[in-house]
Amino acid sequence: MTSMSILLALASEPKLPKLPDSPYFWMPPRVSTIAADSDFLYEAMTWGSAVCAAAIFYAMWHFCTKYRAKSRAANEVAGQSSEHNTALEITWSIIPLFVCIALFVGGFKGFVDIRTPPKGAMEIRATGQKWKWLFTYPGLGTPEDMLHVPVNTNVRIVINAVDVLHSLYMPVLRVKMDAVPGRYTDLWFKATETGDFPIFCAEYCGTSHSDMLSHLIVHPPGEYETWLSNTIAKADSVTGKDRGAMLYEKQGCSTCHTTDGTPKVGPSWKGIWGKSESMTGGGSVTVDENYVRESLMDPQAKIVLGFTPAMPTYKGKLSEKDIDGIIEYIKSLK
């Protein structure tokens, strides 16, 4: 699939990402160089565990049928069979010990690979906020709501969070890393297949934690650059209410505010312009340019009655052009 067809499909289809069908029973498809390595350990453990469990279950079943008592009245007791056997105890301590050492070493090597980004990897910033992932690309001023990467390229994602803990999780890549407010974490991968794959938030973050989804778009060679330059051009040229509409989708506004009148986590934007809204803690405010601006910069300052203070601040994340665009967009939603 070319990236253009993926993007076209995304534009027409609903926004839910899809986990592609997998050739494996337990695991989703493998789309990174890391995946094969960690799946090998997983499969080895699955088979090893199945054998161990089957042996124990068989022993239980066998003993219960073979040595089942006839009745209590028969008053049988076990003969003086063994009650202790040091050689056996040592055997079944040592064998698991060696298995564990092997697994530890395998897991350690894999982990060091996962946690050590190769030098010269392409860098993309990811920010977790309630309840949207935002991705910032080199040369692009506004963040995007999907992760676009080229295939067969080392990519390092530098992650942080603005409000509470989140965790960037891409099952097809077998990578996950917590997003922690106040510090940076990172992960890296090299995608081996093109396509559209789900991104989840894996650390509980409140009301819409389970809707904090995004798409990982892996582009064929050359098309990532085309996508990036087109997006940069578009981001600079769009103004006014169209800019507001674009930001509404990409900055996470749509997670909490609808444009059709139904209240969600926050009030709907439809028809809110010019309305007088009652505030938590008394008083009322007319929704005008200044109120919208204040709500973006200092969201907890005035909360519309009936809603919770859940919105993160957009201070420093929106340009003047962006704020104007959002105001124009809200105005247009009559």
Binding site: I56, G107, Y204
Partner: protein, 561 residues
């Protein structure tokens, strides 16, 4: 031996010990509310814990029903989040931690030691009222605006959400003291109140397990106490400790939290090992295999359990070196755990096996704990854990260990000691049916969750991708089966209290001391302090089954016969 006077209102024991037991010794609510008798405190704990279990279980069924379909099924986002938080907090702090030690342990431990009570009866009663206080605080949170942080109370979410975090966290703080009191009491009781002849290696495995557990309770619980207090201080007074907005560090909270909560996993499951260690030999009519290995492995697990908390944090931003050390020590715990499973299984070899309800629960325990233990190894392998952590794989793993391990053992112990505690037999057929329903329900509920998690389904999700729906539906039907099993059990156990057959002193043919006193035990347990001359699982050949009473009696001397 040291036998402290256990009650302020001591009354002369009545003439016939059969009629006078701890249940009938005093009458009236005050005689229960102010009792210092370990058995009565144990019974009050048992009733309270089972009520909390019913509440936490009801939440679980609502959650599973919600997960029948993606998106809205019966409740909204926020209600779901509040409910999984309360499900977790109730099950951990109110049910599993006090379940076996405080409820069953209180009733049985002094009996197994041939003692008249625990070392500090007043501390014991205080522990119970702290439990009640903690439970009331948790319910206060439910009444105001139920906490929605998850039972882990991770900052900065917990210090910024608008729900009633403080009462719930303070409840957990108070419950911690309840747990410390029980642990302290048991340590002293086991050291000081053992009967003549009971050396350390003649203690029943249940006593060993409670001892190991008590050590963890006393040493680890203060850390969660101070952590939750710091979180409350940050939330109410805005003193920056964990919240980066105030200059704190959220990963520090995770370290503090798991420093307690990983050892707490062993507070929950080590007592279960003890119950299983007591049931299997009695129902196999055979001495336990590898007694010393099982006893000492409990201590080893208790000790190592303190050094592995960081394995919950491989992707938290913790350093690679720290993760590596935690992973290595985690693997070490697998060894004593495996030793236990092998020894329990080997005990049945060439035994004479009676498949009564307690034994069915013990077998169910072996099955689910084997799966729970093996899947723990997956999570200890760091590179694999990166994919599996915070998914349903973890949910399945800890439910196999906590629900499958701790609760199955609690049910096994409950059925095993029920005749001793209440003097009545339950309907054995119903008991077996209940055990089978619970076993099937458990596996159908939680096994599909391993598949869900491996395929990438994150935990604590209200909504999910449609590709996951079939497995979620299967899991929900399993939960209904589980619910049916527990309802049936509640019904026949309650019924037995009035209509059950009178229980003999020793229905299963156990040789530990609790089976030497009548059922239910008299107020002072033993008229004469028993003297121990053999190991806890010796002497099955000296017991004879008597059909008339439905229990075992000492074998008459050949000379007399």
């Amino acid at each position: 031996m040291a036998s402290p006077s256990t009650t302020a209102d001591a009354v002369a024991p009545r003439s016939s010990p059969g009629d006078d037991n701890y249940l009938t010794h005093d009458k009236g609510i005050a005689s229960w509310a102010f009792t210092l008798d370990h058995k009565r405190i144990g019974v009050m704990y048992l009733i309270s814990v089972l009520c909390a279990f019913a509440l936490g279980g009801t939440f679980a069924l609502i959650l599973r029903t919600e997960l029948l379909t993606p998106g809205h099924t019966i409740i909204d986002h926020d209600t779901y989040n509040q409910m999984f938080t309360l499900h977790g907090a109730i099950m951990v702090f109110l049910v599993i931690i006090p379940g076996i030690p405080a409820a069953l342990g209180n009733i049985i431990l002094p009996l197994q030691l041939g003692a008249k009570d625990v070392a500090f009866p007043r501390l014991n009663l205080a522990s119970y009222y702290l439990w009640i206080t903690g439970a009331v605080l948790m319910l206060t949170s439910l009444a105001i605006n139920a906490v929605d942080t998850g039972w882990t109370f991770y900052t900065p979410y917990s210090t910024t959400t608008s729900t009633a975090v403080v009462p719930a966290a303070f409840g957990a703080f108070v419950l911690g003291f309840s747990s410390i009191f029980t642990g302290l009491n048991f340590i002293v009781t086991i050291h000081k109140l053992r009967p003549p002849g009971m050396t350390w290696f003649r203690m029943p495995l249940f006593v060993w397990a409670l001892y190991s557990t008590a050590l963890i309770q006393v040493l680890a619980t203060p850390v969660i106490g101070i952590t939750l207090l710091m979180m409350i201080v940050e939330r109410t007074l805005h003193i920056g400790i964990f919240d980066p907005a105030l200059g704190g560090d959220p990963v520090l909270f995770q370290h503090f939290f798991w420093f307690y909560s990983h050892p707490a996993v062993y507070i929950m499951v080590v007592p279960a090992f003890g119950v299983i260690g007591d049931i299997i030999p009695v129902f196999s009519r055979k001495k336990i295999f590898g007694y010393k290995f099982i006893a000492v492995s409990s201590l080893a697990i208790a000790f190592l359990g303190f050094l592995v908390w960081g394995h919950h944090m491989f992707v938290s931003g913790q350093s690679v070196l720290a993760g590596t050390i935690f992973s290595a020590i985690t693997f070490l715990i697998a060894i004593p755990t495996a030793i236990k499973v092998f020894n329990w299984t080997a005990t049945m070899y060439k035994g004479v096996i009676h498949l009564d309800t307690p034994m069915l629960y013990a077998l169910a325990f072996l099955w689910v704990f084997t799966i729970g233990g093996l899947t723990g190894v997956f999570l200890a392998v760091m590179s694999v854990d990166v994919h599996l952590t915070d998914t349903y794989f973890v949910v399945a793993h800890f439910h196999y260990v906590m629900m499958g391990g701790a609760i199955t053992a609690l049910m096994g112990g409950l059925h095993y000691w029920w005749p001793k505690a209440f003097g009545r037999m339950y309907d054995e057929k119903m008991g077996r049916l209940g055990a089978i329903l619970v076993f099937i329900g458990l596996n159908v509920t939680f096994f599909p969750q391993f598949i869900l998690g491996s395929r990438g389904m994150p935990r604590r999700y209200y909504n999910y991708l449609p590709e996951f729906q079939h497995l979620h539906m299967l899991s929900t039907f399993g939960a209904y089966t589980l619910g049916a099993g527990f309802l049936l059990t509640a019904y026949f156990l309650a019924k037995s209290l009035k209509h059950g057959k009178i229980a003999p002193a020793n229905p299963w043919g156990g040789t530990t001391l609790e089976w030497q006193c009548p059922s239910p035990p008299p107020y002072y347990n033993f008229t004469k302090t028993p003297v121990v001359t053999q190991g806890p699982y010796d002497g099955y050949e000296n017991l004879v089954y008597d059909e008339k009473i439905g229990g075992y009696l000492p074998r008459p001397n050949k000379a007399e016969a």
